[in-house]
Symmetry: C3
Subunit: 340 residues, 3 copies
């Protein structure tokens, strides 16, 4: 199903090969030599496609699907339509990721610096780097092996990228040190001055921003997201963090490992997150807070206080999620009861 205009394809793959790639089990009596040519969503898949069921919301689509094979949890297998080959796994979405990549391996661009790129003579490029047309790399920048710098991207003086990073089109990075395998999406802004002003009626005085942005390995940073550099210390994004589009991260913010920030989240200056914190879309955090590891914050919540590790929060101002649900229910009841 993947449009060949945009995606390279490999295949077909047999059911046995798919089971191995996915770490999944085949049901007894299934034809392990049956061949499949692609992945597809449940509604669109045909007999040569592999699909997956991860969210129970799509159980009906699963039962009605014409997919030739499907990755599914064992307990839902009985809902499968007849004739569908099953690939049983406790983590169907993760398994699907492996299968999809097997059918459509990443394509690496041919290394080299495009004639219309501008690389400062004092920049250092490791072997295997690709620099697209219109990209600019400043003096003393250091670009790791096999990095791929997209069209019209701008890397300022002294920027350091570890190996295997991808920088999207029209992104700009300055004052930052980036780890390995980091993916920066198009239009991302990293390393610009933070919002540091000494305010006053006589005019707001800009405070020099003298820190950096430090980005760990395996981080993804979504399109048009902004990460300001530290004011004196550093802004730090821990390894494995995934950050969606249009997110704002203020100066001196520190994220631990594996945090997940959904689109349009905003984190004010100097706030610190532990590991594996998850913030829903459009959530906002005030500055100078400490948020413990494993905290989950509902979409659109507004956090004004420190949060201990492991807590789930919701609402503005945010309270423990169960309390927020009770508030919502109470408010509905009040209105229903009395009419107004």
């Amino acid at each position: 199903m993947a449009d060949p205009r945009f995606y390279a394809a490999r295949g077909p793959l047999t059911l046995a090969e798919l089971a191995e790639i996915a770490g999944a089990a085949i049901t007894d009596g299934a034809d392990s030599a049956r061949r499949f040519s692609d992945v597809a969503p449940l509604e669109d898949a045909g007999p040569n496609d592999v699909s997956f069921l991860d969210n129970r919301r799509y159980l009906d689509a699963f039962a009605a699907s014409r997919a030739g094979a499907c990755l599914v949890r064992p307990e839902l297998a009985e809902r499968a339509p007849t004739g569908m080959a099953l690939l049983l796994t406790e983590t169907p979405y993760r398994a699907y990721a492996h299968v999809a990549r097997a059918f459509h391996p990443d394509v690496h661009p041919r290394p080299g610096v495009h004639v219309a790129a501008v690389v400062d003579p004092a920049a250092r490029l490791a072997p295997g780097v690709t620099v697209a047309a219109g990209a600019m790399i400043g003096p003393r920048a250091e670009i790791g092996q096999h990095c791929n710098i997209g069209p019209n991207a701008v890397l300022g003086p002294g920027v350091v990228l570890g190996p295997d990073c991808t920088i999207g089109a029209n992104a700009s990075l300055s004052h930052c040190i980036v780890g390995a395998r980091v993916v920066v999406y198009p239009g991302v802004r990293i390393g610009q001055d933070g919002f540091g002003f000494a305010m006053g009626q006589e005019g707001h005085l800009k405070v020099p921003q003298l820190g950096r942005v430090i980005i760990g390995d395996d981080v993804e940073i979504g399109a048009n997201t902004c990460i300001d550099r530290g004011s004196a210390g550093d802004t730090v994004i821990g390894p494995g963090c995934i950050i969606d589009n249009l997110v704002q991260i203020g100066h001196n913010v520190r994220l631990g490992r594996g945090c997940v920030l959904v689109a349009q989240v905003g984190i004010s200056g100097s706030t610190q997150l532990g590991d594996f914190v998850v913030i829903g879309g459009q959530g906002g955090l005030a500055g100078h807070l400490k948020v413990g590891s494993g905290v989950q914050i509902a979409a659109q919540s507004g956090v004004h206080r420190d949060i201990p590790a492991g807590q789930s929060m919701g609402g503005t101002p945010a309270v423990p999620i169960e309390e927020w649900r009770r508030q919502v229910a109470r408010l509905r009841l009040l209105v229903k009861r009395r009419g107004d």
Copy 2:
């Protein structure tokens, strides 16, 4: 009034010509040969300008205006100052659009590829295309007649644009098929990977994003807005949708015809909207929802459930708008009554 530094001008136009352009009626005894040279807002307009009154909020400005002529609904005509020529219409704002365009017709750039643009030899450009300096067009891209590609815009491999599209400065498009007369504003990001990760404490595994973005005819996409491509199927923007600045549209989202998304709206993955849905600024929708045609969602609302067609919603979590108003009123009353 329009600054000649930025706008071409045509005119003058007579009251009779304006009435025809606007589809408006002239009042008895008006001088249909009277000439006007430009449009202007009520407060700034002079005797040679045409203005309009659409929002009752500006009735006082209308009554005090020095505009030579004004587009206005018949029932408000009696509020006009003496000497003002009236152009009577039930749709003054729409009529104003036609009049303004008559005074300031769109200027089309001279076709051709700038010497500082980079167009892959395997891209296909229809006649009449303009490609500005610094723009990049990838292999196998197909650009329709009279498209205008702005400075430093990036069109990835295989991207298809229908005729008469405008791509703003520094925008980037990949993995997308775009209809006719689509306007993409500066800094827009279309077609990048969606936020697809199989999450886990052992690390978040990226799921290959193998779909596309399909954009219908006559769509407008505001500055720095992001539209992620589908994960397996497509992200679809129906014909006639107008999307403001800094909006986030997740993977697999589907918008029907004529939807209106005001600035900073966020729509999570796989949510589907019917036709003519309107979402106020900063509104947020959770993923995997179905929102019926004609639904209206108030600014800053947070939607977590399906919404049947025609409903108006407000609040977080969103409820029918009348219920939300009662909640707000009740909360105010509680505070007033008891003091705290």
Copy 3:
């Protein structure tokens, strides 16, 4: 502490010199000839560094700091660790700004137009202008003395910049007239069409946007922020305003002097702010409002009505901040009392 990879350094400076730069007093008996080499945050500073204490939240860090000197309010001086030289001032953050700039003066790029920039022959550049690689300057643009135009920035036809402006990488400006010393961050979008459509089921009709953006002196505009031009009159940003990242400013909005808009704020069309209005992160204002001078609006608030000068507001829909606090407290109490 500032990474020499990214920052130029000057120094050392004596305590006496620092006191003069900061407008601060030295305590009796301090060694005014003691030398310092840099600024650093309280936790990281060593004996050769100058730090500052502005927020009482960091009193413990102050008491434990190894900083050689610290800018501090006189009433907190007694909390200082022994051996720390004190620089007493009522405005430690403002004083820090001056000290930091003394150690790390701004570096001005060498004037000139990069060979990979594209400047229209009909543009006028004052002496001392720097134009980086990939930047585009359109016909009839006028660029003031010592302006610095970043890589891949795009300035449209007729754009006017006053002296000493900085335009960030990949920013785009059109239809605007900009004052002196304005800083435009990377990815900013200024002057594109506002969201002007005459809506209707038969299709939304675009209304020509014929105004401009007028930006006063000493304004800062954060990364990826969008400012639409006026529809007929102008969008106006008053002198000294500071605007954070990812902010949306609709057409015809007018900001007075010294307004502060924190990240992800959205202001709808035709709303007018007085002087020194402060809006917290993710706050939203409906269109056609008047907000008086000195108004403060809490983060994430949603404003739907005019606000008189000097008022503080919070909540959605926004109410006076004390009333909002009572609403929040009442809701918490209701849930606690009755359980649900």
